[in-house]
């Protein structure tokens, strides 16, 4: 937040020292976010003793929480990601959320140049990350986003197999798949591919034993307790339940990705006619 640091420098009434600067930056960030989004905000603390930080490469470190697919763990990941948006450092490039980890990419050369006294850029970024997790005023912002509605024409090639496996009808399978609100845990594998979950165990199904050589763009699939949408035609091993007419990834959009980690989505079943009328592929 350039705005936050700028506002702090420009305001003579706030006395700034190192201990409250970070806190004030966060408050300002929350205020600005609130002003710009008008969405309900929830402020939380990031629990602090359940993570490890290690080098992914010499220009990226990885903060790892409990290695599980779990909403609460992923919330910590996204909270930390947002903390970096509010309070970044010279040489900061970007963060990449995983299910239970956050990678922090940085310009090691720039950090060593601006902080000649540090033993390594890795130590510098590690320290900054620890501060974000530990210091008082340890708060992060969570936007209570609206639930994104994703229409699906349930015509997938694996519907019968999944239903048969769980001893339910295809109609029941579709009902269960559309019932729950899913969390976008992370984006990866392909540009815009959202890993979502967790699925109801009544429909959770392992990957296909032999992956398909070509899965069409827009396919909605299931793998274990995960569900996802293929933005591009590609080989793939997920069990296919249907097809969305929505372009999940569009290079022409200013923000090409429809979904981001931390979003919530709900599928709704549409007819073949509705699919054909609205198909963006």
């Amino acid at each position: 937040m350039y705005g936050a640091s700028w506002a702090l420098q420009m305001s003579p009434k706030i006395k700034i020292n190192e201990s409250n600067k970070r806190y004030l930056q966060r408050i300002l960030f929350i205020f600005i976010t609130y002003q710009s989004s008008f969405k309900q905000l929830k402020i939380r603390f990031i629990p602090s003793n359940d993570h490890t930080i290690s080098a992914l490469s010499e220009t990226a470190l990885l903060v790892s929480f409990d290695p599980v697919i779990d909403e609460a763990v992923n919330e910590k990941v996204i909270a930390l990601q947002q903390a970096f948006v509010a309070d970044f450092f010279t040489g900061f490039i970007e963060t990449v959320p995983g299910y239970s980890s956050l990678a922090v990419f940085y310009d090691a050369v720039a950090i060593r140049k601006y902080h000649p006294a540090v033993s390594s850029a890795f130590d510098f970024v590690k320290k900054h990350t620890e501060q974000l997790i530990h210091i008082p005023g340890d708060i992060a912002v969570k936007n209570e986003e609206a639930i994104i509605n994703v229409p699906v024409y349930y015509n997938g090639d694996d519907l019968d197999e999944i239903a048969g496996r769980h001893n339910i009808s295809v109609a029941e399978l579709i009902r269960i798949h559309t019932e729950k609100t899913y969390r976008v845990f992370m984006i990866g594998f392909q540009p815009g591919f959202a890993y979502m979950g967790k699925l109801d165990e009544r429909i959770a199904t392992p990957r296909r034993s032999s992956p398909r050589t070509l899965v069409p763009a827009g396919s909605v699939g299931i793998a274990g307790f995960q569900t996802g949408i293929y933005p591009f035609a590609s080989p793939g091993g997920w069990q296919l339940v249907g097809q969305t007419p929505l372009k999940i990834f569009d290079r022409e959009r200013s923000s090409p990705c429809l979904l981001k980690a931390g979003d919530h989505i709900k599928f709704n079943s549409i007819s073949k006619e509705e699919f054909e009328q609205s198909n963006e592929y």
Partner: protein, 327 residues
């Protein structure tokens, strides 16, 4: 000001330093495989490092110059010639209108970079000219160059005066710092290093690994003694980086290269240091490498050294261009 592709090569693409800031959307940095050769070819052609260059593999394309141009080739020696006159690497060169640039045989290295004074005109997508093949964005129509493609370059920033000889080049000792010893690749231990059993940890540094034919801009698959992990290797997906060395379920290794996926589920046992990625990207299938583990601080120091070499070359090239040409 343009060139025309007379004969198509294998995966000739426009590249630059890559795009940052979109990894969380699943869009990797991409960019030139050999960042050093890419930058130096630009400097020697009188550009800044961010101009687009052509990344050329063997068999290379045949390129017709429809106007005079100042060009520079850097990276692999693919026996380049202009109208059958050999073109040296790592030095600027003046090519006349109607010259045909060819690549006759690979001598050493895997890919070479062609920069032109003024820079190739191409599409910028998310801040970079690099070709993203999956999204079909960036570079020339988001794809590899084909026969009859015409690529434009900008008007020269410098007008030729007096002597047309461009007699400066990069001394061998400068490139040697980056590319030698050619088969020794430095890396740091990464997130899941400790999943390897003790024997495999030793074998990783002791044994040679061959680059297989299943190697491309996304990754290099290696062949060598397979490594074993102590525990189950089924991980939940998490971020990876260029240079990440993953352990596959069959015990073989893959090194992620420029066009890698942003996340993966295989153990990340080590990471090739950024300063050795140019060297690794010039190793060809069939050739062997060995890994040497160093500390994170040493890896940072190596990256700083490479940046220093580039800064010096940049300054030297600007000085020469200002001396020979009127701005």
């Amino acid at each position: 000001m343009s060139i025309k592709i007379v004969k198509q090569g294998v995966l000739t693409t426009l590249q630059d330093g890559g795009r940052n800031g979109f990894r969380s959307m699943g869009i990797g940095a991409g960019g030139a495989m050999d960042i050093f050769a890419m930058a130096v070819s630009n400097f020697l052609a009188g550009n800044y490092e961010a101009a687009a260059v052509l990344e050329i593999n063997f068999p290379g394309p045949e390129i017709l110059f429809q106007q005079n141009a100042i060009i520079c080739l850097a990276g692999a020696d693919l026996s380049a010639s202009a109208n059958n006159d050999p073109l040296p690497l790592w030095r600027p060169f003046f090519v006349k209108k109607d010259s045909v640039l060819q690549f006759k045989k690979p001598v050493h290295g895997a890919r070479t970079y062609l920069a032109v004074q003024g820079g190739w005109q191409s599409e910028k997508w998310l801040g970079s000219y690099s070709t993203h093949l999956q999204v079909s964005a960036g570079g020339h129509l988001g794809r590899a160059l084909q026969k009859d493609d015409v690529i434009f370059f900008k008007e020269e920033n410098f007008s030729l005066t007096g002597d047309k000889t461009l007699n400066w080049h990069i001394p061998y000792k400068e490139t040697e710092k980056i590319y030698q010893p050619a088969n020794s690749i430095r890396c740091i231990k990464s997130i899941e290093w400790n999943l390897l059993d003790e024997a495999s940890k030793q074998n990783f540094e002791k044994n040679e690994f061959e680059i297989t034919n299943q190697s491309d801009r996304m990754g290099y698959r290696l062949n060598g003694s397979s490594l074993l992990s102590d525990r189950s290797t089924d991980l939940i997906s998490s971020a990876v980086d260029a240079g990440t060395i993953q352990l596959l379920p069959d015990g073989n290794l893959i090194v992620l290269m420029a066009d890698h996926q942003t996340t993966g589920g295989y153990p990340r046992i080590a990471s090739v240091i950024k300063a050795d990625l140019p060297k690794l990207s010039q190793v060809r299938p069939g050739q062997k490498i060995n890994f040497k583990a160093i500390t994170v601080t040493e890896a940072e120091d190596a990256l700083i050294s490479m940046e220093q070499v580039l800064t010096e070359i940049k300054a030297g090239c600007r000085l020469n261009f200002e001396k020979y040409f009127q701005p």
